[in-house]
């Protein structure tokens, strides 16, 4: 008996996208970067680390609901030794609106993959980055920047700092000529910027 070919072919499986398809990136009202998919981030912190982070997280909970406000997340990450830009924090929070930043709250379990993402960032600022960064403003190429110029840069470029913040940063940095030496001898500015002042309970070794 000749095997009958089954006329009914199995219905071709539709190629379903495994992940949610990203919306076509049309420049609309907000030219924000596409939202991050945190579900792919694997949390690699040890249980001990997570316990420490949870304790730090709890210090920021002023409401008592075991959550923190979106606009506190940057500071918590900084407290835990990271130096994210405000833009990076907003991105990891899913590009919230200003209202969201003020009003939405985040629980610890959702915070962990965000922190992991920031920790994993290959573009994190290193000591060499700061040297390179300062070199951009070293007009004479001699390893110094003018304090006055750096003040202007910090207040007008990047994520602008307030005058109070700039004053705090620049305190004691300029020599008698108003210059900041960032190369050659150990630079106090670079020491300031690198991960030196950690709280006693700082979990990162």
């Amino acid at each position: 008996m000749a095997p009958k070919k089954d006329a009914k072919a199995a219905p071709a499986k539709k190629a379903e996208p495994a992940k949610a398809a990203a919306p076509a990136p049309e420049p609309e009202v907000v030219a924000a970067p596409p939202a991050l998919d945190l579900s792919t981030v694997k949390v690699e912190f040890t249980p001990d680390q997570q316990e420490d982070y949870k304790e730090a997280f709890g210090l920021f909970d002023r409401v008592g609901d075991a959550k923190v406000a979106y606009n506190q997340v940057a500071d918590i990450m900084r407290a835990l030794g990271q130096n994210p830009t405000n833009k990076e924090v907003r991105k990891v929070l899913g590009n919230p609106s200003d209202d969201d930043m003020a009003g939405k709250r985040l629980e610890f379990e959702a915070f962990l993959p965000m922190l992991q993402h920031i920790v994993n960032d290959p573009n994190k600022g290193t000591f060499d980055d700061y040297v390179e960064g300062l070199r951009v403003f070293d007009k004479e190429g001699n390893g110094t920047v003018m304090g006055a110029e750096l003040r202007i840069v910090l207040g007008t470029l990047g994520e602008k700092m307030t005058e109070a913040e700039i004053d705090a940063l620049m305190q004691g940095q300029e020599d008698e000529n108003g210059s900041i030496n960032f190369e050659g001898k150990p630079s106090s500015l670079l020491s300031l910027l690198s991960l030196r002042s950690r709280p006693k309970w700082y979990p990162f070794s």
Binding site: N83, T85, L154, E165, W201
Partner: protein
């Protein structure tokens, strides 16, 4: 318009420097330095606050 006391950043009108306002590299360099400084300041603040909190709890 005098914005002096509201803590907002201000440009110095008498500045003769070419500030590369639109240069992405310069902005990126500035942002990294600023991010690092903000991190430092937060950790410094926390360090200063912690002993105070511990003292309060010991009462």
């Amino acid at each position: 318009m005098d914005c002096r006391n509201d803590g907002s950043p201000r440009t110095h009108e008498d500045d003769i420097m070419d500030i590369p306002l639109d240069d992405p590299e310069a902005n990126k360099a500035a942002a990294k330095i600023q991010a690092s400084f903000r991190g430092h300041m937060t950790r410094k603040r926390m360090k200063e606050d912690k002993p105070r909190e511990e003292r309060r709890e010991q009462k």
